[in-house]
């Protein structure tokens, strides 16, 4: 109580000090006068009486100081004084302050921005309950497109029975559905899930309820849970949506709830539905066939179980399956299952890029910290005199250290504030980058943790700066004063430190530049890759008309459902023909084609193929090809060159002989050195049993050139084109070729299509140029960011080397003056200084190139068309850094050459 009261009184005293000072002066004065009067009363002369009284007081100023110390918070007061002093000192050297603050702001800004992304995407714990125990299971096999083949229902059943370390195993089947809106339909990405899905995922509803095991099976009403993101985006967060009916794939579905915000893997989705929505998912073939794989699997570790146990068990179960069903698991394809923590799976695509960026940002931080240390050291030497005077006046080493610390904190915190402002802008840019790599991009934010990170960076740096500065030691003050510190140019040790820092800056800059160079060359190589298309003035748009869900009355009667489907397919094809005709009539349009897939985009259907009289090679995975369809005009419209044979014609229709056009890649796979025209080829594999695709032999009538469907950096995929008229129009794309600017046509073309199909979803209205750009955009951003960091590093390093040399020149003014008066001319002095800088530069370059040589291996996976140790890049980078470095040395060298010996000798 008593201490609390005293503390309050002191805090109050801290704020009301000025008034109390007057009061105290009066009180002390009164005391002095009373004592003087008493002395006079005792018989002393007034003069003597006053002198004795003053003597007894022990000094009014000291007394006032002692009382003041008792009154307020002396520590805080002196810190406040230190801060005021620091601000004044920094205001007096604006150039120094500006350079340090900007340098630090760049370093701290880059690191804070990248760290906030790393934290949001990779480090932050998942919003799922016990998210660390959530696992993602991935089945893969050898061969193209087999990196994630998902699971079949029987496989999931075996895992459920065999792997007891997994407490819950839930199924999740990503799909694309048509949602009928009030005016037009839209395509939505959905997940068809088992009733235990949300329990396993550890997710709760934000509104309403989620699906549960009673929503499983064929005979239940279809229900739908909206993701938080989609609910906000499409329904504006309207809570009355719960309980409403929506039309999905021509069926009525009840919205039962809204999910809490959560990331999805592999892709962002809009809604989750129970399996009954898709007749196919509850059909016997889906449920019973082992090779019919459409399901992603998530699982939760059982209490007490470890990831290792789960891996061992899952591997054992999988091995049993493989030995039991040899027909399903071709031994040569090496089927396997991985158990991956869900958090890692979410960060999978982003990890490499983000750590690379974090590393680059850390390098920028190192360089800027080195620069600031250097600048502080130089300033410290100039301030040596001031510090010695302070020490002589009674400031202890601890007190001086604190003064420096406060000053450095003021500096670094100013840098941090500007840095955070830079980071706020940077994060906005980075979120769009991260969205390409991670479903968690919307979790990125500059929150308290990230700000604490920036604060920790700047405080650490301030402490570092305060301790590299050497202070006059107690006891050595006298010798320092007599030495006349004005001429001291810093100890040898300190100069070595400065030089080492400059070398490090150059080396690190070279490493960053090398990374930037390699990624930029990758970009150039990618843009030079021939897409395989003849022209880029092509507009494409997806207009899916065919819906897979039957009417609710048909239930799971598959025969009826299929008949329905064929009827609506015929109607859809008539619509496409009308669209084609009307688009063709537009001015500027030279050709309109219809096909299943946008050119330069991969088909989602990739099936096993076989050729007649070509037995599959033993010991290799079965060859696969992309399933695509095209009408007679498609190839001409898209600009895909016909290499051999003929185009499709109007006579290749339903009921006529089955024909195909294959691409060069597929031709090379089956018919190397032969003419494939007239040969027969067919789809094969278990999956044909559950699809409307027939395994009949088809005659090859043409060969077209390869196109970069998997992206500019991927090997062309083998493709087999069917006549659009001979297959179900499961997906449909209009390809419009123009004689001028394709993007200008987008609006009018959309209007034409809308007239023919007023309610159909129209999606991905893109020019081929945009499709191509989208495939390289992440790499371009990578290259741009690393180049930005590289440029920052080089600028900071150049300032660093110029600064150190300039300082060296100013410290050696006297010596240079002597040299010149002894006969050295300006040129010789200039060479001397250039040599001094050149040595640092050379050492830095050698170390940097060596460092780049090692570091380049790390980014091997991000390169294309250029080796990690590409000598051209390394030489180019070293040359660039060398030229900039010499440029930076030139200024101080020229200044040294213009020193007037007469003036220096006299001063």
């Amino acid at each position: 109580m008593r201490h609390l009261r005293a503390a309050f009184a002191r805090i109050a005293g801290f704020f009301t000090g000025h008034h109390a000072d007057d009061d105290l002066r009066d009180e002390l004065q009164a005391h002095l006068e009373m004592e003087t009067a008493e002395n006079i009363r005792r018989g002393l002369q007034p003069e003597e009486a006053r002198r004795r009284a003053a003597l007894a007081s022990g000094g009014l100023t000291q007394a006032a100081e002692a009382v003041r110390a008792q009154r307020g918070l002396p520590w805080l007061e002196s810190v406040a004084a230190d801060i005021r002093y620091a601000l004044r000192a920094l205001r007096h050297s604006p150039a120094f302050t500006a350079v340090v603050v900007i340098t630090l702001a760049l370093g701290i800004g880059a690191n804070t921005a990248i760290f906030s992304v790393v934290r949001g995407v990779l480090l932050k714990s998942l919003p799922h309950r016990d998210g660390d125990r959530l696992m993602y299971l991935r089945q893969s096999a050898d061969g193209p497109g087999q990196a994630n083949i998902s699971f079949s229902v029987p496989e999931v059943r075996d895992l459920r029975e065999g792997a007891k370390s997994l407490a819950g195993i839930a199924e999740y089947s990503p799909f694309s559905f048509t949602l009928q809106g009030e005016k037009q339909a839209v395509r939505i990405d959905v997940g068809l899930v088992t009733g235990n899905y949300f329990e396993v995922m550890g997710l709760s509803p934000a509104l309403g309820r989620l699906t549960r095991p009673s929503d499983d099976g064929p005979g239940v009403p279809p229900v739908m849970v909206l993701t938080h993101d989609y609910w906000m985006r499409r329904f504006g967060g309207d809570s009355s949506i719960v309980g409403k009916q929506l039309r999905v794939e021509d069926r009525s579905v009840t919205v039962i709830g809204v999910l809490q915000p959560a990331p999805f893997f592999p892709d962002r989705i809009d809604a989750l539905l129970n399996m009954v929505v898709s007749p196919h998912h509850v059909s016997a073939m889906m449920v019973q066939n082992r090779s019919h794989r459409m399901t992603e699997v998530v699982a939760r570790l059982a209490a007490g179980a470890t990831v290792e146990q789960a891996r061992t068990e899952v591997a054992a179960v999988h091995a049993r399956m493989q030995s039991e069903f040899r027909g399903v698991y071709n031994a040569d394809s090496h089927y396997r299952v991985e158990v991956i923590p869900f958090k890692e799976a979410l960060g999978e695509r982003a990890r490499m890029t983000l750590w690379l960026l974090m590393g680059a940002a850390a390098f920028v931080m190192i360089i800027s910290a080195a620069n600031v240390v250097n600048l502080t050291l130089m300033r410290g030497v100039r301030r040596g005199h001031e510090l010695v005077v302070r020490a002589a006046l009674g400031a202890g080493v601890a007190r001086l250290r604190r003064l420096l610390l406060v000053e450095n904190l003021v500096l670094t915190l100013m840098g941090a504030v500007v840095g955070v402002i830079i980071a706020i802008g940077g994060v906005r840019l980075l979120v769009s980058l991260a969205a390409r790599y991670s479903p968690r991009a919307n979790e990125i934010q500059l929150d308290a943790t990230v700000l604490a990170f920036a604060l920790a960076l700047s405080v650490t740096l301030a402490m570092l700066l305060s301790f590299v500065a050497s202070l006059p030691k107690e006891g050595s003050i006298a010798s320092l004063i007599s030495a006349g510190v004005l001429r001291v140019s810093g100890s040898l040790r300190k100069q070595r430190l400065q030089r080492a820092l400059v070398v490090a800056q150059i080396a690190v800059s070279v490493v960053l530049l090398a990374g930037a160079g390699l990624l930029t060359r990758t970009m150039i190589h990618l843009s030079e890759v021939n897409t395989g298309l003849r022209t880029e003035e092509v507009l494409a748009m997806e207009v899916p008309l065919l819906q897979l869900g039957g009417s609710p009355g048909t239930g799971t009667d598959l025969a009826a459902w299929f008949k329905n489907l064929l009827a609506s397919d015929a109607v859809a094809k008539q619509s496409y023909e009308r669209m084609q005709r009307e688009l063709q009539a537009l001015p500027g349009v030279t050709e309109v084609g219809v096909g299943s897939t946008i050119p330069l985009r991969g088909s989602s259907m990739r099936l096993e193929v076989k050729a007649e009289n070509k037995p599959p090679a033993v010991g290799t995975a079965a060859p696969r090809a992309d399933f695509r369809s095209a009408n007679p005009e498609y190839f001409r419209a898209a600009g895909i060159p016909l290499r051999r044979g003929r185009d499709f014609t109007a006579t290749d229709r339903q009921g006529s002989g089955k024909v195909v056009i294959i691409n060069q890649m597929l031709a090379d796979t089956f018919f190397p050195g032969e003419d494939p025209i007239g040969k027969r080829i067919a789809w094969t594999g278990e999956i044909l049993k559950f699809s409307p695709i027939s395994g009949d032999w088809r005659t090859i009538v043409g060969v077209v050139g390869n196109t970069q469907d998997g992206g500019q950096d991927a090997k062309p995929r083998p493709v087999m084109f069917m006549p659009f008229a001979q297959e179900l129009a499961m997906a449909a794309v209009l390809v419009i070729r123009t004689d001028s600017n394709a993007s200008a046509l987008a609006a009018v073309a959309t209007r034409v299509v809308r007239r023919v199909a007023p309610t159909a979803p129209i999606e991905n209205v893109l020019t081929i140029k945009q499709v191509k750009d989208q495939s390289v955009a992440p790499r371009r951003l990578n290259a741009a960011l690393i180049s930005l960091f590289g440029a920052l590093a080089v600028i900071i390093a150049a300032v660093g080397i110029a600064g150190v040399l300039a300082f060296s020149v100013s410290a050696r003014t006297n010596e240079i003056g002597i040299r010149m008066s002894l006969g050295a001319d300006g040129g010789r002095v200039q060479r001397m200084i250039l040599k001094e800088g050149g040595v640092l530069l050379a050492v830095g370059l050698v170390l940097g190139v060596a460092g780049a040589f090692f570091a380049a291996g790390v980014i091997r996976g991000l390169l294309f068309g250029v080796a990690p140790h590409d000598p051209m890049t390394l030489i180019g980078v070293a040359a660039t850094m060398g030229v900039i470095g010499i440029g930076a040395c030139w200024i101080p060298a020229v200044r040294a050459a213009h020193i007037d010996p007469a003036i220096t000798m006299r001063s």
């Binding site: 008593r2 009184a9 009066d26 022990g58 002692a66």
Partner: protein, 114 residues
């Protein structure tokens, strides 16, 4: 200066409280004189010792301060004991006596029998 003592930390507060208890409200000069006289001038108090101690007691709520006219028509700041101060004085005096007795017992000239 031989024979003069510095005021021990903690004892000064006790002396001030006791002085105010005996003499009633008093200014700083009066407190200093009284302490010096009581110590038969073996103690001297400079302002730098006395006034921080007074301020501390005031902050702790044991004394209050107020500007008044002195007996010879001079304005002076008078300090007076509060109820809390009186309690504190009793407590400290008791503790001091106990400590003094203890130390006295220790320092008594008595030879241990072998």
């Amino acid at each position: 200066m031989a024979g003069k003592l510095d005021v021990k930390q903690g004892t000064l507060a006790l002396m001030i409280l006791r002085t105010l208890d005996v003499l009633g409200p008093l200014h700083g000069y009066g407190v200093a004189r009284r302490i010096e006289e009581t110590s038969k001038n073996r103690l001297t108090l400079n302002y730098g010792t006395l006034y921080p101690a007074l301020l501390k007691l005031e902050q702790e709520g044991f004394i209050t301060a107020e500007w008044r006219q002195s007996e010879n028509n001079r304005r002076a700041k008078y300090y007076a004991l509060t109820a809390a101060g009186r309690k504190q004085l009793a407590r400290e005096a008791r503790e001091w006596h106990q400590t003094a007795d203890l130390i006295a017992a220790f320092l008594a000239p008595r030879r241990e029998t072998p």
